[in-house]
């Protein structure tokens, strides 16, 4: 079978299934008695196995199969859920992830899984040997002959009941032609035919997999009906591209003789309805029912390749530049009809912009979902008990931002687990609950998304931080006395600072927090620390919703135009020369009772221009956190939406410039990085 065209879907879905397994396993660890969770994991593993077997990834299928056996044993109460058992299952999930990763990067997904398979087997055989036989049968794509179908308790009950009411139950084994092109379509047609004959109880592989063509050429449908076997066969054969149909009576237990099932009883319709209604109600919990249900909702979303969204975004960015140009022209021409049309177009493209930006938004969940595993692992290594609470995983952020925040968050979480949360003994001694809590919280507020990493650990010792900062020469003694708490805690993110007394594998090598800070600031965000000693700390990250289109204020200095992001601007003002004060030989102004330093952009940026004497100065008051500065400019041009562009790979680390944008006239304007200007 030609499988390459499905490879992408296969990889995507495998990742989803593995993620689901991961999440459910963590859940299971908390509620080891909840068999519903085991069922969930089992379902994901089962689907994964079927898919990988169909795609020809034998190692993947093999390992999943062994894992499934263990899960099956758990499900049947043959094995108890313990941390050790889960460790092995987690390890095999790791292996599966590695294989999928390999396949995604063009490899063949082969991997030496003997060791882990042996461990899985050990667990499995440690419990019960006969289990194995049963689970072997569960493999649909591998069992070569007959496609024996395994029924769960519920399904057998339904079959039994319908038989008692005079229905027959058949297993219809359909083989499609080798060259069948639209297998999913054929499956659909066959299901329609069968649904007219009676009630479909189960199919192997499951309906979803059939619809997505995750099967070779054969599948089995179990059906309860009043029709004759030959009749069903004839009806199904009428669907084109069907190679062979075998209708065999359902034989589950010896007491149900096969000839009995062929009998057609004449029970009244009332009974039939009752039976099916009852069945439908139960279907909600049952495997088959769930998949049938999802058939109706599965078409509400589509998968779109990220690259297409990116090129859509790029095209739109071009449009934004032209929009800027058009707005400029219409202002110059001052033609009422043109102005009206341009305004209309601006509004529409504004809406379009929102939609496109929204399309690129993905929930932070995609980053968050790998953390529970990581925290669990760390806690085990450090012998701490930690509960990771994730709040607001559905909060959405632009993909470009999402790509950047993974590493900083890993770092902050490791930090919280390693340095934040105390050891069990310490916690006990302090009268805290032995289990530490780390909260990862995301929420939207205005044009920003906030992500907080909070722990209820030891907190930060203000004095210790200050002493170290002074020792390392990061601040002077005098400066240190004036710092606020949050400024002191901010010091731990300066480069060359680490308060960890001992170095562990996990964090505390003196690098890291400064990198976290740099990364977050490089994407236009900021980070703030709050801590109460003995109670815990909160690292709060503020992030922009998107990085690609931002609102700026255009200003002019000499002949040069610069853009200042609106997010940093507090307001613009015109001040009198005589209002300028001097403090410590620096020029400052009094802005609403606060002393704000004046920064002359022409001097900072060495703008070539003649000295012009003016009694008034135009200033833009910008902020970074609580700190402010007043940028002196020549004139304000106005507010505009611009597309943020990078300066390329050659020009890196340009002083106080975070990027560039292309203006309506085709010229490049640089975007001022206010964070770098305010010290």
């Amino acid at each position: 079978m030609e499988t390459t065209q499905y490879l992408e879907i296969f990889i995507e879905e495998s990742k989803e299934h593995l993620q689901a397994i991961n999440e459910n396993l963590l859940e299971l660890e908390k509620n080891p008695e909840d068999m519903e969770i085991v069922n969930e994991v089992f379902r994901s593993a089962h689907t994964l196995k079927g898919m990988s077997a169909t795609m020809g990834f034998e190692d993947l299928a093999n390992l999943t199969h062994k894992m499934e056996n263990v899960l099956d044993a758990i499900r049947n109460h043959k094995i108890k859920v313990t941390t050790d058992v889960l460790d092995v299952v987690f390890a095999s999930v790791d292996d599966l992830e590695a294989m999928i990763q390999d396949i995604a990067s063009g490899g063949d997904g082969k991997r030496n899984v003997e060791e882990i398979v042996a461990r899985l087997k050990a667990i499995e055989s440690g419990s019960n040997v006969e289990k194995k036989e049963k689970s072997e049968v569960r493999e649909p794509s591998h069992s070569s002959e007959g496609n024996s179908v395994q029924y769960d308790e519920f399904e057998t009950t339904v079959i039994q009941q319908s038989k008692e009411q005079g229905f027959s139950c058949y297993e219809v084994i359909v083989t499609l032609k080798e060259d069948c092109l639209l297998k999913a379509a054929r499956v659909y047609m066959i299901f329609e035919v069968l649904e007219k004959c009676g009630e479909i109880i189960k199919s192997v592989p499951a309906v979803e997999e059939l619809e997505e063509e995750h099967f070779d050429h054969r599948f089995t449908v179990t059906i309860v009906t009043k029709d004759e076997a030959s009749e069903i066969e004839k009806k199904v054969m009428k669907v084109s591209e069907v190679e062979k149909v075998v209708v065999q009576p359902f034989a589950d237990s010896p007491k149900q003789a096969s000839d009995h099932s062929k009998e057609t009883d004449h029970s009244d319709k009332e009974e039939k309805k009752k039976a099916s209604a009852e069945k439908n109600a139960k279907d909600h919990q049952a495997d088959g029912g769930k998949q049938r249900k999802s058939k109706n909702v599965s078409n509400k979303t589509i998968r779109v390749n990220i690259e297409r969204l990116d090129s859509l975004m790029n095209l739109f960015e071009e449009l934004v530049i032209d929009r800027g140009r058009l707005e400029q022209i219409s202002r110059e021409l001052n033609h009422p009809e043109l102005t009206e049309t341009v305004e209309r177009m601006s509004r529409i493209s504004g809406d379009l912009q929102n939609i496109i930006l929204n399309m690129r938004m993905i929930p932070v969940e995609t980053v968050f979902n790998r953390f529970p595993r990581m925290v669990r692992q760390l806690a085990r290594e450090l012998d701490k008990q930690i509960n990771l609470e994730i709040i607001g995983a559905e909060t959405e952020l632009d993909r470009t931002v999402i790509d950047e925040i993974g590493d900083p968050l890993v770092h902050l979480l490791r930090n919280a687990v390693d340095h934040g949360i105390e050891t069990k003994e310490e916690r006990k001694a302090k009268g805290k609950p032995i289990e530490g809590t780390v909260k990862l919280k995301a929420y939207t507020s205005g044009n920003h998304v906030f992500i907080e990493v909070e722990d209820d650990g030891a907190g930060i010792n203000r004095e210790k931080v200050l002493k170290k900062a002074i020792d390392k020469g990061i601040v002077s003694q005098e400066e240190a006395e004036k710092l606020t708490d949050s400024e002191v805690f901010g010091l731990i993110m300066e480069s060359g600072f680490s308060t960890a007394d001992r170095i562990t594998d996990i964090s505390g090598r003196g690098v890291g927090l400064d990198v976290v800070k740099a990364t977050i600031e490089s994407i236009g965000g900021s980070i703030n620390i709050n801590s109460v000693e003995g109670k815990g700390s909160v690292f709060s990250i503020q992030l922009p919703l998107t990085l690609s289109i931002i609102s700026v204020m255009l200003i002019e200095v000499g002949n040069e135009k610069y853009a200042i992001p609106l997010s940093s601007i507090i307001e613009t003002a015109i001040i009198k020369k005589e209002d300028i004060l001097s403090a410590h030989s620096k020029k400052v102004i009094d802005f609403r009772g606060k002393v704000v330093p004046l920064l002359f952009l022409e001097k900072l940026f060495e703008v070539p221009k003649e000295e012009a004497e003016d009694d008034y100065l135009s200033v833009v008051i910008v902020r970074k956190g609580d700190k402010m500065a007043a940028l002196v400019v020549d004139s304000f041009i106005g507010q505009q939406e611009v597309v943020l562009k990078s300066l390329g790979n050659y020009l890196t680390n340009v002083f106080a410039i975070s990027g560039a944008t292309i203006l309506g006239d085709g010229q490049v304007a640089l975007i001022i990085d206010c964070n770098a200007l305010i010290k």
Binding site: E606, L647, G648, Y650, L651, V654, A656, I662, V668, L670
Partner: protein
């Protein structure tokens, strides 16, 4: 540029800078542009003239004269920007004029030149004598080194 077998040919773009003729391998050159407005980027090294809008891509511009320590010259009608790419870096070079595209047999390329100016010597991979012309072959890697 290893010399494997005899008549191996190097395709280059030849351009003028002062009295000398220089060349860059054509596979490193993306396009040749007329001069366009350059936005100055403050606080960068003197040979970085600024950035241009090259069909939607913000591209940094290096003045090769300044880079090689040659005297500055007013831009004129002949001034061109040669856009080159190296390791995903896209950079434009201001040159006095772009001359033509040449096929040079590698046998005419001599490795280490002695007679050219000292400052530019470090950016040079070789010299080619070609039909009475003297072409100085430049190393993009070294020019872009900081």
């Amino acid at each position: 540029m290893s010399k494997i077998s005899a008549p191996s040919v190097l395709k280059v773009i030849a351009f003028q800078l002062g009295d000398n003729e220089y060349a860059l391998p054509i596979h490193q050159v993306q396009s040749i542009e007329r001069l366009m407005p350059i936005t100055r980027v403050p606080k960068t090294v003197p040979f970085i003239k600024g950035v241009i809008n090259l069909r939607g891509v913000v591209t940094p511009i290096i003045d090769l004269r300044t880079r090689f320590g040659l005297p500055e010259k007013e831009f004129d009608d002949g001034t061109r920007i040669i856009v080159a790419t190296l390791n995903e870096m896209e950079v434009g070079f201001i040159v006095d004029g772009a001359n033509d595209v040449l096929d040079i047999s590698e046998e005419f390329i001599e490795p280490q030149p002695e007679m050219v100016g000292e400052i530019e010597a470090e950016y040079i991979t070789g010299v080619a004598k070609w039909e009475k012309r003297l072409l100085i072959l430049l190393s993009l890697e070294k020019i872009l080194e900081k």
